[in-house]
């Protein structure tokens, strides 16, 4: 690990000391996700791995910043740095105080979140909302940073949830905002393949990894997600999968290659229908037999 991280330090030292990197870790703690319903104790393993990962990030550079969020079934929350003031943490066993603080605060706040609500009703975690909160947080830090300083931000989503099209628009909004704000979104899928979040990684130049073995979560986090985006080019990381950008039609939710798009609201349909189901626009009927002539018009 050392020989990989070193070039970064020399590079940033020579360029500027004001460069800070912020990682916002979003931990999916929704008790409804399949992985946690099957074996709830997995969460402890994930939390431990994430804390170790967070500490390694802080260790890399004194200016590095960290935030950890929990995405729960009914709301999302920042669990580190939590709300309000923290009691001073004393050094334990010669460990760096900040590490102890990260561990204590994270566990304390996470326990609060978990005990407040443990309904397993929602299967799908509302990750888009958590990412939206993270983006607001990042944009505040960007606004209030001292002039001249640079803040490189990325978001790491660790989740075992599945994803469906119900959050499609929220996802797309956050991905494009992240792209605009130069925020990289990394996704570490623990249980299921997440095609929408994979698109987000592709849009924001982040990494997507479905962890083959949950036991080795920390290893994957440290090797794949710890290095900063500029260094990643130099590493041999899991090759990017080809992202499927085909659209799903609004009527049957099937992936299509050729479809019909409503000119008013841009809904996608797999075949011609006289009325748009989204905006209730009535389409001109003559177009129905004239599917072929329409093609001609365009040529």
């Amino acid at each position: 690990m050392n020989n990989i991280v070193l070039p970064d330090e020399t590079q940033t030292d020579s360029s500027s000391d004001d460069e800070t990197s912020l990682v916002v870790v979003i931990l999916d703690s929704n008790p409804g996700q399949k992985m946690l319903r099957d074996s709830p104790h997995v969460l402890t393993h994930c939390v431990d791995s994430i804390i170790a990962f967070a500490n390694s990030h802080l260790m890399q550079k004194a200016q590095n910043k960290l935030a950890i969020m929990a995405c729960h079934s009914k709301t999302s929350q920042f669990i580190y740095p939590g709300q309000g003031k923290h009691t001073d943490v004393r050094q334990v066993d010669g460990q760096y105080e900040v590490f102890t603080a990260v561990e204590k605060i994270t566990k304390k706040n996470l326990a609060k979140v978990l005990t407040a609500d443990s309904s397993t009703v929602t299967k799908e975690s509302l990750l888009a909302g958590a990412i939206a909160m993270a983006l607001c947080y990042i944009s505040r830090l960007q606004r209030t940073k001292p002039p001249g300083a640079t803040l490189n931000c990325r978001i790491l989503v660790v989740t075992g949830s599945s994803c469906s099209a119900s959050q499609y628009m929220n996802y797309m909004n956050v991905f494009f905002t992240a792209q605009k704000q130069n925020v990289v979104i990394d996704v570490c899928a623990l249980d299921q393949h997440l095609s929408l979040l994979q698109q987000g990684c592709d849009i924001t130049n982040g990494l997507y990894l479905k962890v083959p073995q949950l036991q080795g979560l920390l290893q994957y986090l440290l090797w794949v997600f710890l290095p900063e985006p500029p260094i990643r080019e130099k590493l041999v990381l899991p090759p990017p999968l080809k992202v499927d950008y085909r659209a799903a039609c609004f009527c049957h939710r099937q992936l299509i290659e050729i479809g019909y798009v409503c000119s008013v609201c841009l809904s996608i349909f797999c075949r011609f229908s006289p009325i748009c189901t989204t905006c209730h626009t009535v389409f001109k009927m003559p177009a129905l037999p004239a599917v072929k002539p329409k093609k001609k018009k365009k040529i």
Partner: protein, 398 residues
């Protein structure tokens, strides 16, 4: 006269305003905070005006009519009107295509009593920016001809299918126009074709421009300075309400995906976009997007297939426009009364300085003013609603 039924009155006709009293010094005697506050409030006001109307002209076809006459060499904008305009247009084009990915822009120059089309209607902003960057050194000659410019734009816009939203944006530096015929006939024709013409004037108000904008439902504005100029340009980024005569229809589109024949590498092929150019991009490549109808290869989306005319887009391109149709609900301003001690989204602690907080009508969470602006200008998703299973789809159902 048209001015009489125009509700907007001129500044010099309004009552006496003590503008300096609006600005107050803070405790340390600085004006900055008070000015910044006013800017933010103005932003919020503008945001509140935007209402999610269901019918917008989403597939925009916009002609940019750029005045390149002698008057553009004036130095009231720094360094010159032309160079300032080009700089702003560059940012504008990028933002425009970011927000309207399936729209097209063409550029027409008005120079020396003639109109010249320097860039055909196309959806690739890099091409337009390249064309614009060559304009730096053009000779600014003679007078512009508004009529010739409009006629040329109209002749191209006429041919578009009926569901396309047609627009013209005129950037006018000159106070005069030298036309071959009666311009009111041209305006009448534009009106008949449903072309929306907006004008940004760099000098002073001109009657014919006011007529043009009023008759065709466009906007006419005169810039105050370069910041105001940028604001006015960026107004054009949001899609306008659909014109009455706009016909709605279903448009056939292709969603190409990269071929994935596993194991074997794709053969090196030429893409259709660069096949007849000798510039840098024209290389043999292995990846690309294939038209699902005729299998021509393209290196970039969105594009109209050159072989079969199918519009090729990717799903995120369409998704980029959805926020115009399903905007986040406007927040309600409430006086800060210790409802909450932290902004839900950015975790900012509310203090004495925050006199107002902003409340989302759907999820009832409280936000700070910065988040309010950020959510409605950039994010378009309310973080409070999106994290709650009861409200996360509310934008769709409204």
């Amino acid at each position: 006269m048209a001015e009489e039924d125009d509700p907007k009155e001129y500044r010099w006709e309004t009552g006496y305003e003590k503008t300096w009293e609006a600005i107050k010094e803070d405790d340390e005697g600085f004006l900055q905070a008070s000015v910044a506050d006013m800017v933010q409030r103005a932003k919020r006001k503008r945001q509140a005006l935007k209402q999610g109307s269901q019918k917008l002209g989403m597939m925009r076809h916009l002609f940019l009519l750029l005045d390149c006459s002698e008057s553009m060499s004036s130095q009231d904008l720094k360094p010159t009107r032309l160079i300032c305009t080009l700089k702003l247009l560059e940012i504008f084009l990028e933002e425009f295509f970011d927000q309207n990915p399936i729209s097209q822009i063409g550029i027409i120059l008005m120079q020396n009593k003639r109109a010249e089309k320097i860039s055909e209607l196309a959806g690739n902003y890099r091409k337009h920016i390249k064309v614009l960057s060559h304009l730096n050194r053009t000779n600014l000659l003679g007078e512009p001809s508004l009529q010739n410019g409009l006629e040329m734009a109209l002749s191209s816009l006429k041919l578009l299918p009926s569901h396309a939203s047609r627009e013209i944006l005129v950037i006018m530096g000159s106070l005069t126009t030298c036309d071959p015929g009666d311009i009111s006939n041209t305006i009448e024709n534009l009106k008949l074709e449903g072309v929306r013409c907006s004008v940004i004037g760099l000098a002073a108000e001109v009657h014919v421009c006011r007529q043009l904008a009023n008759q065709t439902n466009g906007i006419y504005n005169i810039i105050l300075d370069d910041n105001h100029y940028k604001d006015l340009l960026f107004q054009q980024v949001d899609p306008p309400p659909a014109a009455v005569c706009l016909e709605s229809s279903l448009i056939k589109m292709g969603f190409p995906h990269q071929l994935n024949n596993e194991g074997s590498d794709e053969p090196l092929t030429m893409c259709m976009c660069h096949v007849d150019s000798t510039e840098d991009g024209s290389k043999l490549t292995s990846g690309g997007y294939y038209c699902p109808q005729c299998f021509s290869k393209y290196c970039e989306l969105p594009v109209e297939c050159r072989a079969c005319g199918l519009t090729l887009v990717s799903a995120p391109h369409l998704a980029r426009s959805y926020h115009h149709l399903f905007p986040a609900a406007n927040y309600i301003e409430v006086n800060f009364n210790n409802q909450t001690f932290v902004c839900f989204a950015c975790q900012k602690l509310f203090g004495e300085l925050d006199k107002q907080v902003y409340n989302c009508p759907n999820c009832k969470k409280y936000f700070c003013i910065d988040c309010d602006i950020f959510v409605h200008e950039t994010l378009h998703t309310c973080p409070g609603c999106a994290t709650n299973p009861l409200t996360f789809q509310i934008a769709l159902t409204n």
